[in-house]
Each structure stands twice: as structure tokens, then as C-alpha cells.
């Protein structure tokens, strides 16, 4: 049982990690929020926010290329000195802790609303937290392998929802093409780029990847794939449920699963999607918890992270009860984290990159100067 080595992962694993980290939001409120802000052009809104987020991804990739052998806290120490290391570690850990806490609450509420109406929320949350701690305890290698193993099932799950509910598609629902108007799209798109801030996790695990030079490619692949999933789901969502119903649903994809009707026998099969929900949610939460403990252990130079897991798991469990209601939890996610999160998630790497450019530090820059 004492498998306390973190393990090494191949660069292909990065793709899976990024996809799982990002597409989880498709099961939570993102399709609804996009419809609220973009109307029938919600897919365009998501595309625009992905365009803006690509700048953040570019910054992260640039940072990885500049410091291919260092994680973000090491980079912070190189550029800003020891205080920088501690600050960046604390910020990273806080982001991931925040994500874990809010998302675990949202998922627990989702499970309660959909399939287990009479079960106490603490039981469901506890089961999520146990999975998170157990997965993170076994290290990145195990998490990545589980992600690789389960991603096909998750994608098949999403695809089957879309195809089975596809009989209700009405193309008229795409009109008006610009939805709430181009001005509103432009205003809302930058905030929604926060959907992608989880990518910053990659900067924490560089030293665990076997071929660091291949990370940027995988990051871009993961980013583009997740964007495609978002846009496709949004297209189906808008065309099947219309913007009126679509802007008022608590769990958008669940509703899609619910209307599936393929003859008398294949109907009301939405509970089967609990597997897809749980796998995606728990894997993302495991990764974010792992991100939080890794940030702390690397930031404070603790040789292993496992002893931090149990306390942090307990913290996530307790903090997840802080939001007073489901709506409060959703608003903490959609109105704060996924609106302003990119300021920190992409801001910290941007600040580091800026410093490195100004101070002319970093592996690649040095080499360039020599060759020039």
C-alpha cells in the first residue's frame, strides 16, 4: 500500500489530464450560463472565450518552454526569490482548493437533485472526498492511468446523450445567429475564459513528465479538444432545448439525458449517466486536490505530499458546507471563479513570464542570446 512515489507520466497523459480538468464544467452550469449570456449564440460565446483563453494557454506554454525543467514554484523562486516561491505556491494551492471545494459541493448537489433525493449531502460529499484522497494518495501516475482508462467511457457517455437526444434537434433555435448581440458577447467572453484556468496545473507537474519537450503540443491538443467538446455540446443544447428552457435549467446535460425517448423501453435512462458524472467529477476533483497538495508540498519543499492529503481532504469536506445553498455554491463557481479566475489563473504565469523577459532569465532565452 505504501506507494508513496509520485510516479512519472508520459506526455500523452497531459492530454487526458487537461481534457478531464476542463470538460467537467459541461456537466455543471456552463451550458446554462452561456445561454444566459449569449442566447442562441452561446456556442459563439464559448468559441470567443476559448480564443481569449488561448492567450493564457500561450503564456503557460511559453513559460514551460522557457523553463522546461522547473515547475511554477521553482520558476517563481528563480525570478522573485524565496518569498515569490511561497506566494505562488499559496496562490496555486488556494485556487485548486477553491475549485475542489466549490465543485465537490456542486457535484454533491447535482447527485442529490437527480438520483438520491433522500440521501444526506454529507454522505455523498464524503464519498467524493474519499475518492479524491485515495486517488491523490496513489500519485499522479495512477491518476493519469485512470484518466486514460476512463476518458473513452466518458466521451462515449457524452456522445450517446447528444445522439440519443438528437431526435429533438430544431435548427431554427440557432437563430438569431448573434444571439444577445455582438456587444454582449464581447463583454462576457473574457470572463468565461476562466473556464480554462485549470490548465495551469500543468506548470506544477512538469517534473513528473517524461518528455517535457512534448508538453506544449499536448497542452494545445487538450485545449482544442475540450473547446470542441464545449462547442458541440452547446450546439446540441441550444438546438434541442431552446434558449428559453436552456437558460433556466440547473443541470443542463442531465435534462438532455432526461428527454431521451427511443421507444417505450429506452426512456428515463438518465440515472445511467450517474456513472459518467461521477467518473468525470471525481477524476477532476482528484486532480485539483492533487494540484493543491503538490503546490503546497513543492512550495514549502516538503519531500512528499501524502501527509498533507488527509488534512486538505478534511478541509475540502468542511469548506464545501460553507455555501448556504445550492444557488450560493453555483454563484461562487459561475459568478466568481469562472468569471474572474483567469485574472489569477493566467495572471500569475503572465507575471512570471513578464519578469523573465524583463530580467532575461530562463533556459531558452539564454541559448538564443548565445546563438545570436
Amino acid at each position: 500500500m505504501y506507494r508513496l512515489k509520485e510516479g512519472k507520466i508520459s506526455s500523452n497523459g497531459i492530454f487526458g489530464i487537461i481534457v478531464i480538468l476542463i470538460i467537467t464544467k459541461v456537466f455543471l452550469g456552463i451550458p446554462r450560463v452561456a445561454v444566459q449570456e449569449g442566447g442562441s449564440a452561446s456556442w459563439l460565446l464559448l468559441l470567443m472565450s476559448a480564443g481569449i483563453a488561448s492567450a493564457g494557454v500561450f503564456i503557460i506554454v511559453k513559460l514551460i518552454k522557457k523553463f522546461p525543467d522547473k515547475n511554477i514554484v521553482d520558476i517563481a523562486e528563480t525570478l522573485w526569490g524565496p518569498p515569490g516561491r511561497v506566494i505562488v505556491a499559496a496562490v496555486m494551492a488556494s485556487i485548486f482548493l477553491y475549485i475542489s471545494t466549490v465543485v465537490v459541493r456542486e457535484f454533491a448537489e447535482t447527485i442529490l437533485t437527480t438520483v438520491l433525493p433522500r440521501t444526506p449531502i454529507s454522505i455523498v460529499t464524503l464519498m467524493f472526498v474519499i475518492t479524491m484522497v485515495l486517488g491523490a494518495y496513489n500519485g499522479l501516475e495512477v491518476i493519469t492511468r485512470s484518466v486514460t482508462l476512463l476518458i473513452p467511457f466518458i466521451l462515449v457517455g457524452i456522445t450517446s446523450i447528444l445522439l440519443l437526444a438528437g431526435s429533438f434537434i430544431d435548427l431554427n433555435n440557432f437563430f438569431p445567429l448573434l444571439g444577445t448581440g455582438i456587444d454582449k458577447l464581447v463583454v462576457h467572453a473574457p470572463g468565461r475564459s476562466s473556464i480554462y484556468i485549470d490548465i495551469v496545473m500543468v506548470t506544477l507537474i512538469i517534473s513528473n513528465v517524461n518528455e517535457p519537450e512534448k508538453i506544449p503540443q499536448q497542452v494545445w491538443k487538450g485545449f482544442l479538444f475540450s473547446t470542441a467538446v464545449f462547442v458541440v455540446v452547446q450546439l446540441f443544447y441550444v438546438s434541442i432545448l431552446t434558449i428559453h428552457a436552456g437558460s433556466k435549467l440547473y443541470i443542463p446535460l442531465f435534462q438532455l439525458a432526461r428527454i431521451i425517448y427511443m421507444g417505450r423501453f429506452v426512456q428515463r435512462i438518465e440515472v445511467l449517466y450517474v456513472f459518467v458524472w461521477f467518473f468525470t467529477g471525481a477524476l477532476q476533483l482528484t486532480l485539483t486536490l492533487y494540484g493543491a497538495v503538490t503546490a503546497l508540498s513543492r512550495g514549502f519543499k516538503i519531500p512528499i505530499y501524502q501527509p498533507l492529503l488527509f488534512p486538505l481532504g478534511l478541509l475540502v469536506f468542511s469548506l464545501s458546507f460553507v455555501p448556504q445553498s445550492t444557488l450560493h455554491a453555483v454563484s461562487l463557481d459561475m459568478n466568481i471563479l469562472r468569471k474572474y479566475g483567469s485574472l489569477i489563473g493566467f495572471g500569475v504565469p503572465a507575471a512570471l513570464l513578464l519578469t523573465s523577459v524583463v530580467l532575461r532569465k530562463g533556459g531558452k532565452t539564454g541559448e538564443k542570446q548565445k546563438t545570436n
Binding site: S146, T148, L150, V274, W277, A282, I304, E367
Partner: protein, 600 residues
């Protein structure tokens, strides 16, 4: 168990230095040989300013303290020393006086109390009627060999051609001329004499010679080669291992007639002195796997071992895991196939099961028959088996979840049917399921233990109790009988016995989880199971290889490619060879030829 839990909880808070010990992993061995990542690649390792890799720092910072002996180890040491009371006598060299040797051996063998140790004294007329004696164990040695090839030549035939010189070395003559048996050994210490005798050989002690001749006369009672009891196939070889070490090895040698097949011998158990062989193909199997297994086998220090099942627990990677990390098989053809793919095998005297390692989950789900049949049929039965694994584990849990938590997903007609059938049953679903599963476990266990003469009884009783009577008495609903029967059938389709126990036990875990939180509990269980299995290793190889971690596959996981496209050896064991057949076997077939062209 409590201490184990306490240790786990403690480990959440406390850092022990042994956590830095590297588990054996053939992937990692390869990686550490690679260049370090990043910019500082080019040969500046002597640069004093450069930091060492963090792993090395950790290792040097934390040294292992010298460990005190555990109580069990102390006991073992003490027991060894007790044997050592006579062990001092054992260490004595063979004396030139036959009386001293015989007295010593009689004492050590507890004669005359020990009735099956036979000491036969006689004289060899060849040279001055020299006194001699043989010692052997009645039953362990073949008395026909002793009579015909040891006693007869020494006592009768040696009379015919006597030497003329006086100073003659009788021992050499006996060894080279008089005893026509195939294997002999020369023992110069009492210990070696005893080792020979307890192994079924015969010791020839000759007066005025300080050496003893050990003659191969092993004649243990052995069963003849029979059918496989647990791994039956319809098409394929029908021979199986038995309890004889030599015969088992011969079954493998018969199938791999190559000098590269190596059988390394070990003696396991300081009292039982059981023969054990580590088998591998020199030049094929990864050397790190061989040396790791050798290390693990040498670490076994026990008084006796009775079966390879114990070896599996002693050398396996996760001794507490429900999922076996090595494969026990009674089929020589299976061992042969695994050896050719770069695995190692262990055969032990007295056990009809060979162990194969490293192994993957897929290997546990395969049956040799999959290979002997058409690839389409082979793939089909494998798919059935994979489905039946999940059916066996989840079906009762699924039934509980649907009836207790998610009745809305049952179509109305079926819902009404279930409700009607459950109307008269007074128990909750979970109680019903547990009762039926328990009853079925009883039948299965009783079926195994019952004397074969009474066998048919169990079928009648079982069928009556589990089926009709229980339903008619309104104790269980008819649909549940179907569920339990389905799970029972599914768990019998798993070809590996240890793995079918896994299915049986996991089923109860899932029943528990489903009864708490329905489908959510099942999903929870599946994910936790995934975490556990992805973290498991069998001799350094991931149990889910080559799926996770993803490696180029040999087309032999669930679906099976046809044999003419199996050109490469599975890569997850990192064998020393790449190919096991030529690219195009069916040269005469235009379709295959075209296909290979397409591949390349």
C-alpha cells in the same frame, strides 16, 4: 488487521523513511537510464553548481536504521540453532572408518526408532572382502534399482574380475566401474550424505575410504499425468502438471526443445528442502525481471512450503490484494506460451500448479482455448468473459440500486411485473439478495467439500432450496433467482480460480455500496477499483498494461488478432527480442500479402 488500519492512518500524518524505497518497476529502470530532462543535458554532470536530482538527495538524507529482529525471526533463528544441536555432528567430514560413519548416521537418522531408514551392510568381494554399507529411505528410493544396479554388481559381479595389486583404490573402482547408474555424486561430509539420502538417493559407504558415493535411485510415488482439473478446453492439449517436479519440467522441455530454456534450481524450506525451479528463456526474458524474481525467491526463509500458492503470496507484489498478481496454471501449454512472450515461470516439487509472472488483468481473463480457435470465435468468447466479469460483480448491486433507488428507469410493464412478484415477499431487497447470495455460497462451498459419492444430492437440495421452494414460500422473488443464477454463471466463466474468487468477494462490496447509495455507490466502487488496479504492479509491470499505461498493443487484449499478424512480442515485459515470427507467414495468400503491404 487493526494494526494495518492504524498504520495506514498513521501514514497520513507521519513520514516514515521507508516511503522513499523504490518499488520495483521495469518502466522506471528504463527511465533512470535516460538523459535528464530540460536544458542542462549536455554532459555537464561534473559541474559542482548543478543540483543533484531530488530523488538522490532524498535517499542520502534518509538512511535505513539497522532493524531489530521481529519475534518471529528470533524464533526462527532459535529453531535453526536447535537443529544445530545435531548440526554440529552433521558438519563432520566422512571418516575412513565405516563403523564411525555408520554410528554417526544412525544417530542422526534416529535409528533404530526410525523404521523406514534402511542400513544394509555387506562386503565387496572385489578387494579383500572390504566391508561396505548402503543407506536409503524405504519408499523414497527405488528398490529395484538398488537391487539390480547397486547390490548385484557390488556383491556378485565384482567377484569375477579381481585386481592383482594390493594398494587398490576401491572407491574409484566402485564409482567408475562397478555401479552402472546414471547419476552419481561424491560426498565428503556427513551433511552431504544425509542430503542425498533424504532426497531419495542411496549412499554407498565403503570401509577405508573417506568419501561416500551417492547414487541416483529416486523412486518417489508419483501420479501419472492426467487431465487439467480446473482449466479445461474443448480444443487443445489435454495434459496437465502433476506433483512430480521432474515430470512437470519434462512437460515444458517437451514443448520448448531449445537450449535457451533455463531452469534455475532452488531449495526452498530449510526442513522440507523442496525443489523449486525458476524457468525463463535466456535471450528473451528481461534480465531485470529474472534477477528480481531470483532475489525474491532467495529471500524466502521458512521451514517448509507445501504448495506454489504459498510462493505466490511470498513473492507477489500486493499480498493483501484481492486481485492476484501472479497466475497459477496447471497447463504446460500456457506456461510455454508465457515463457515465449518473455515471462518467467516457477515450478515446485509437490505442486501441480506453475506460477507465471509478471501477469496482467487481461492474462487472468484469457483461456488457452482463445488461441486455438478461429480469431473471431476467440474474440467472441473473450468478450463474453469480460462482460461476465462485470455481470458477476455488479448484477445483484444493480438490481438493488434499481429497485431501491431508481425505479423510474424500469419500463412500466417490467416495473409492474417486479412489483407483483415482490408483493408477497416480506423482506427488503437487500436482505433478500444477501440471503440468496449466502445460500449460493453455501452450495458452492458444500459442492467443493462434499465426498463425490454424495455429489448429486447437493444439486437436488440446492436447486430445490434456491429455486422453487424459496419462491413458493414467498421468501424470495422469482426475478431475484434469475439475478443470482446469472451472477453464479458469470463467476464460473472466469478461467482463473483466484480471479473468480475476486469476483465473488467484490460482489458483496458492491451490494453494500449499492444498498447505501444506489448507482452512485456502484460508480464510487468502480472508480476506487480503477484507482487500485491502475496502481497495482506484477513484478514491475502495470496490471492494466498495455492499456494503461498505453503501449502499442499486440492485438491480444480483449479482441484477438489472427495468428499471422502476431508478429511482435508484447512489449510491456520489455523482452530482449522484438519479433516472434516473420512478418508474412501466409506468403501464398494474396489477401494476407496485400494486408502486410498495407501495414508497412
Amino acid at each position: 488487521m487493526l494494526s494495518k488500519i492504524w498504520q495506514f492512518v498513521k501514514n497520513l500524518f507521519v513520514v516514515n523513511d521507508y516511503v522513499f524505497d523504490e518499488l520495483f518497476n521495469i518502466d522506471r529502470v528504463r527511465m533512470s537510464g535516460k538523459k535528464p530532462e530540460g536544458g542542462n543535458q549536455s554532459g555537464n554532470s561534473k559541474d559542482p553548481g548543478q543540483e543533484k536530482p531530488s530523488d538522490d538527495n532524498r535517499k542520502s538524507a534518509f538512511r535505513h536504521p539497522k532493524r531489530a529482529y521481529t519475534v518471529a525471526e528470533l524464533k526462527a533463528k532459535k529453531e535453526k540453532q536447535q537443529i544445530g544441536g545435531k548440526a554440529d555432528l552433521e558438519k563432520l567430514p566422512v571418516s575412513a572408518d565405516i563403523d564411525i560413519n555408520l554410528e554417526l548416521l544412525r544417530k542422526l537418522f534416529n535409528l533404530p526408532k526410525n523404521k523406514d531408514i534402511i542400513v544394509r551392510e555387506f562386503s565387496i568381494p572385489y578387494h579383500n572382502e572390504t566391508r561396505a554399507a548402503i543407506i536409503y529411505i524405504d519408499g523414497a528410493a527405488n528398490t529395484q534399482i538398488i537391487d539390480g544396479y547397486v547390490l548385484q554388481p557390488l556383491m556378485v559381479l565384482s567377484n569375477l574380475n579381481k585386481p592383482e595389486t594390493e594398494d587398490h583404490n576401491l572407491f574409484q573402482t566402485v564409482k567408475n566401474l562397478l555401479v552402472p547408474t546414471n547419476q552419481t555424486a561424491v560426498a565428503d561430509s556427513i551433511k552431504k550424505v544425509i542430503d542425498g539420502v533424504v532426497n531419495g538417493d542411496t549412499a554407498i559407504i565403503i570401509d577405508r575410504s573417506d568419501k561416500v558415493l551417492i547414487v541416483e535411485t529416486k523412486g518417489w510415488p508419483v501420479r501419472s499425468i492426467g487431465d487439467p482439473k480446473n482449466e479445461k478446453v474443448t480444443q487443445g492439449p489435454q495434459d496437465a502438471f502433476n506433483e512430480s517436479f521432474r515430470q512437470n519440467l519434462a512437460l515444458i522441455r517437451k514443448r520448448i526443445r531449445s537450449r535457451s530454456l533455463v531452469t534455475e534450481y532452488f531449495k526452498i524450506g530449510w526442513r522440507s528442502q523442496t525443489d523449486l525451479a525458476l524457468l525463463y528463456l535466456d535471450g528473451v526474458t528481461n534480465k531485470k525481471i529474472i534477477s528480481e524474481m531470483r532475489k525474491r525467491l532467495k529471500a524466502i526463509k521458512m521451514a517448509y512450503i507445501t504448495d506454489t500458492g504459498i510462493i505466490q503470496q511470498l513473492v507477489g507484489d500486493s499480498p493483501y490484494s484481492l486481485i492476484p498478481t501472479s497466475l497459477a496454471t496447471e497447463r504446460p501449454d500456457r506456461v510455454t506460451a508465457f515463457l515465449n512472450e518473455g515471462h518467467i515461470a516457477i515450478i515446485m516439487d509437490g505442486s501441480p500448479f506453475a506460477i507465471i509472472a509478471p501477469i496482467t488483468i487481461w492474462g487472468l481473463l484469457h483461456s488457452p482455448e482463445d488461441y486455438y480457435l478461429n480469431p473471431v470465435v476467440g474474440s467472441f468468447i473473450r468478450i463474453i468473459r469480460v462482460i461476465s466479469f462485470f455481470v458477476g460483480v455488479i448484477t445483484p448491486a444493480f438490481y438493488i440500486a434499481i429497485t431501491n433507488y431508481h425505479p423510474e428507469m424500469i419500463p412500466t410493464d417490467l416495473l409492474l411485473a417486479i412489483a407483483a412478484s415482490r408483493e408477497n415477499v416480506p423482506f427488503p431487497v437487500i436482505a433478500e439478495v444477501l440471503m440468496m447470495e449466502f445460500a449460493f455460497e453455501l452450495i458452492r462451498e458444500a459442492g467443493l467439500r462434499i465426498p463425490s459419492l454424495m455429489g448429486p444430492t447437493i444439486g437436488i437440495v440446492g436447486a430445490l432450496i434456491l429455486g422453487q421452494a424459496a419462491v413458493q414460500a414467498n421468501i424470495v422473488s422469482p426475478i431475484l433467482v434469475i439475478v443470482v443464477a446469472l451472477t453464479a454463471l458469470s463467476s464460473f466463466t472466469i478461467p482463473n480460480i483466484a480471479f473468480s474468487y475476486t469476483v465473488r468477494l467484490l460482489r458483496f462490496v458492491f451490494i453494500f455500496l449499492a444498498s447505501i447509495t444506489g448507482f452512485f455507490g456502484i460508480a464510487f466502487g468502480l472508480l476506487v477499483l480503477t484507482f487500485i488496479v491502475t496502481g497495482m504492479k506484477s513484478l514491475g509491470v502495470s496490471m492494466l498494461a498495455p492499456v494503461a499505461p498505453f503501449r502499442p498493443m499486440s492485438g491480444d487484449i480483449v479482441l484477438r488478432r489472427p495468428f499471422f499478424s502476431f508478429d511482435s512480442v508484447p512489449k510491456y515485459t520489455k523482452p530482449q527480442v522484438k519479433f516472434q515470427q516473420v512478418k508474412l507467414i501466409r506468403k501464398w495468400d494474396p489477401v494476407s500479402r496485400n494486408r502486410v503491404k498495407g501495414d508497412s
